[in-house]
Symmetry: C2
Subunit: 568 residues, 2 copies
């Protein structure tokens, strides 16, 4: 009898396992089960559907060759049986049977399996404040939600929307609402910066600025207290700890939780974050049951801890491994380093590894560099600033994390993707100093920004570079706790000298060696140049003259512009 | 007495060593020596200056902050003495003295050093055929050449140019001449494909097609026999083994040779390719003499052999290491994997590691996959095909090389840069199958093209995927040695069925499982779909039915279009 494989869930990982397994074993009887009737879709594309980049809902469940990925497609094209509108209720592990219910007629039946794959995904968290069930309050977890949101906007019923949660989905939704539809959009986040799980300060400030410049009303460090409705139970406003925002629509983007109930009920091991635990072969604690995708926990390669990482890319890669292993192979999923990217209006953002704060929590002694540099040879047209934050452990010099942003998203992603695979090998600062990235003037500088981010970190670890974080500097300067020594040209520095008087000293770099005795030695100075390296050079010269109470503003004036805008 | 460091050569590595070393040791007396008066320039930018992307020559030797990098700049801004117009003649290692000649007054002097750095770069090869010294025949090795070429074109004196050598510089020059100036340009290469040192077949064919479509006359497998001139010794034509091309200008881009004479004369070890040999600390066989940049040989990390790799990026990274080590540090340059990228009109191209042929020569048993896939989520607007060739060793499954091309150059580079650093760790096909590259629909597919290139290679190594190279297929089909089984839709296949009759069979994928008995079994078939994966699926089905004399066309019809254009 051919092997019977049942897969619960038919969005990303499920179909991947099914199709790959059928290719490996033509005889296998493979059944895909899903509660929904719409299956095998690109859930990550929902914001782009709502924002109009993708015209039709079908675009999200069509193949590259424009075939609709429905039940019939799986039968004819893939040789896989898809049962849609069917809910998996419970697993009888002893008898290897899955109890399911057909949602249209409520009929239940038991399906026998030789191997079972749990690909149940994750469900958006509905926070516990009142009003989450009002009409007009949406989550984004499937295509029906997507259609509902787009329809109500297209009907002209939405003038002002509130998005709760400034993670990836919240930000993508805020952009979608604003960009195509001109909906006035407020983004509320309880953390003190956007993308709090992905980014630390600085790069998140660059993102926040991009959001504000595109008319998103960003509210940080505010908790939602309740959502208010009218007598028809239609949403009217969102109340936070500090304010009330009138609105006609709310999108809840407060994270997701793994759909692991069926696994838990069957006695399979569940992790601390509620995800199903799997070994590197993607097997659960029952060797006949595999699991993958948004419903499992994955190992964070950097700190060894378990984490949730709901991403279609991981689901696809895990799906291939599961299929190989069910077929008798032995491929391992080693874990993840949290590679992530997002487009935020005209800005590309990417990261991998731990943020500075996460590294601290994980017991490291982190140190970072923050570099602003041209994303291609500076003499090449269309070059623009890119911003990279590189984080390492002070003692071991091991790289722990990288965050990057810039207008050329593919170029931003290139830097992060080049570093991310090295975490597993314990790459150090020195390895990134001479990281061999491809070079040609249209695509990079000879000393690439990624090399310079590591060079800067190397200088910092070794103590020759003493820096101040740009956001800390701005706060100190605002409070008049520090003076600036600006080594840019007179013409660049003049407006600041005029405005800030003796708090802003200008000695241009080309005059500096001759005028070093003019530098005041009685108080701390923050050193400034266009983007950081020249003022570092000045710091070294000052140190050689015994003046050591200086700190170099990381990323220089470019970074001030990126996180704050022109000084006022 | 402060330490005296002399650096011969002030283009890329020399200035990097000088400035970094001065930052590390403020007391050091550092002297940069160069024959030329123009120094510290971005030589890689020359084609972009000639092509008009960079308006002024000064753009190539200005800093990001628009300071001109001349003698005075090095003195005031960097605290480094630059002697320009001074030629280094010989090294007296015993007495640690360098003999130099001031070119303006021919006066010679001896300079004492504690440490010497050789950064003499490389010189363009002048091939041994007659006519290389005619007026109008140029090499590209410094800014004077660049200015001479641009001036003569701008004066309207050049209608037709011949570029000899289709390496990176040859191609960049051909583009520069054509794109801005509309010069009719012929590119002559003695190898059978363009970028022969960097690329194998397929990806080089994509580049060649891009060149032809932009009106470059590409002549392959032709040796230049002589360059002819008129009575005023002005170039008139280039004669190859097969043809004669009239022209008013010739650019020799036949490679470079390291300037290692001064090192050789001083008894330092020289490698098989004429480059100075250095250890991982970048020290020559004399511990007081360092060398780096285009004049040294570097270790190829993949095959352990020595190679030349004249790139400004390597020079900069090596320069930093040399400065650190002269200052008593201990940083290692581990070698290189040959990461390379180039913009060719609207195409971005990148590679790292060995080509298929190079891998064979190095004693590996190479195998490759050739994948065409969307460079972002296929449902995302502006997605376009990217092409990746991934090469591995059949037995060890270790990745040996990657080549990529596509219209989004930064995205192409991202894939290559993500794989290149893994060579040193012996990454295998499986590692690339689950390589964790960042994912969001605007920048990637959930199963990224790099993952799929590895998946395809995995299937090939394991024997389930039996493929035919697209260029081999085109040749066999032309010779009527194979038939095509096209599993695309009827509407897509119809024109081909009409044109090729029984040599082109169409059974659409969605009908295939029902019509499998229609497949002829009496002769070999090449399987075709849009880009390769669906026809692979068909191959597996056929194999399950006992039909195994099939080969899948790598990259499908997309790859046919990319290397050849529409079938005629």
């Amino acid at each position: 009898m051919p092997e019977r494989i049942i897969i619960i869930g038919a969005v990303a990982l499920g179909p991947k396992v099914a199709c790959r397994l059928k290719r490996l074993n033509h005889e296998a009887e493979i059944t895909l089960i899903d509660k929904d009737t719409l299956i095998s879709y690109g859930g990550c594309g929902i914001p782009y559907y709502i924002g109009g980049d993708i015209a039709d809902l079908e675009g999200l469940y069509s193949t590259f060759a424009h075939a609709i990925r429905d039940k019939e497609f799986f039968r004819t094209d893939k040789g896989v049986k898809a049962l849609t509108g069917v809910e998996a209720l419970s697993i009888n592990r002893k008898e290897k049977k899955l109890l399911v219910r057909h949602l249209n007629d409520k009929i239940e039946e038991e399906l026998e399996y030789d191997k079972l794959v749990i690909a149940t995904g994750a469900t958006p968290v509905k926070p516990p404040f009142p009003g989450v069930d009002l009409s007009g309050v949406h989550v984004i977890s499937n295509l029906h939600h997507a259609l509902a949101i787009k329809t109500s906007i297209a009907d002209g019923k939405v003038g002002h929307a509130v998005v709760i949660g400034a993670g990836a989905i919240g930000i993508e939704m805020a952009e979608a609402l604003t960009d195509l539809w001109g909906v006035e959009t407020t983004l509320i986040e309880m953390a003190d910066h956007v993308l709090p799980a992905a980014l630390g300060k600085n790069i998140s400030a660059v993102v926040e600025k991009e959001l504000r410049e595109n008319d998103i009303n960003v509210l940080l460090s505010q908790r939602v207290v309740r959502i208010n409705g009218d007598k028809d139970n239609r949403v009217t406003s969102v109340e936070t700890t500090e304010t009330t925002i009138s609105c006609d629509m709310v999108v809840l983007a407060a994270g997701v939780r793994p759909n692991s109930e069926i696994a838990k009920d069957a006695g399979l091991a569940i992790g601390r974050y509620g995800g199903i635990l799997v070994d590197p072969c993607m097997q659960t604690t029952d060797p006949d049951i595999y699991a993958g995708g948004d419903c499992v926990e994955v190992k964070n390669i950097i700190n060894g801890q378990s984490m949730l990482m709901p991403l279609g890319s991981l689901a696809n890669r895990q799906g291939r491994i599961i299929a190989t292993n069910i077929n008798g192979g032995c491929e391992h999923f080693k874990g993840a380093v949290g590679s992530f990217c997002i487009k935020v209006f005209g800005l590309g953002v990417a990261k991998a590894g731990l943020t500075f704060e996460q590294a601290k929590s994980a017991g490291f002694d982190p140190i970072y560099s923050m570099v602003a540099q041209s994303d291609r040879a500076h003499f090449y047209p269309d070059s623009d600033f890119m911003y990279i934050k590189l984080i390492a452990d002070r003692n071991s010099r091991k790289i722990l994390g990288i965050e990057a942003a810039g207008p050329q998203g593919d170029a931003v992603k290139a830097r992060v993707d080049a570093v991310a695979p090295l975490f597993q090998y314990g790459a150090t600062i020195s390895d990134i100093c001479s990281l061999e990235v491809a070079y040609a003037p249209p695509y990079a500088s000879a000393m690439d920004i990624i090399n310079n981010a590591a060079n800067c970190l190397d200088n910092t670890v070794k103590g020759s570079h003493v820096s101040v974080d740009v956001q800390d500097f701005l706060e100190e300067f605002r409070q008049e706790k520090t003076r600036v020594l600006d080594i840019r040209s007179k013409i660049q520095a003049e407006p600041f000298v005029k405005k800030y008087g003796e708090r802003w000293i200008n000695i241009p770099q080309d005059e500096f060696r001759a005028r070093v005795q003019e530098v005041p030695t009685d108080e701390p100075l923050c050193l400034l140049c266009g983007s950081g390296p020249r003022s570092y050079e000045i710091q070294v010269i000052l140190a050689a003259h015994g003046i050591t109470n200086t700190r170099n503003i990381q990323g220089g004036y470019a970074m001030i512009l990126a996180v704050h805008g022109p000084l006022d």
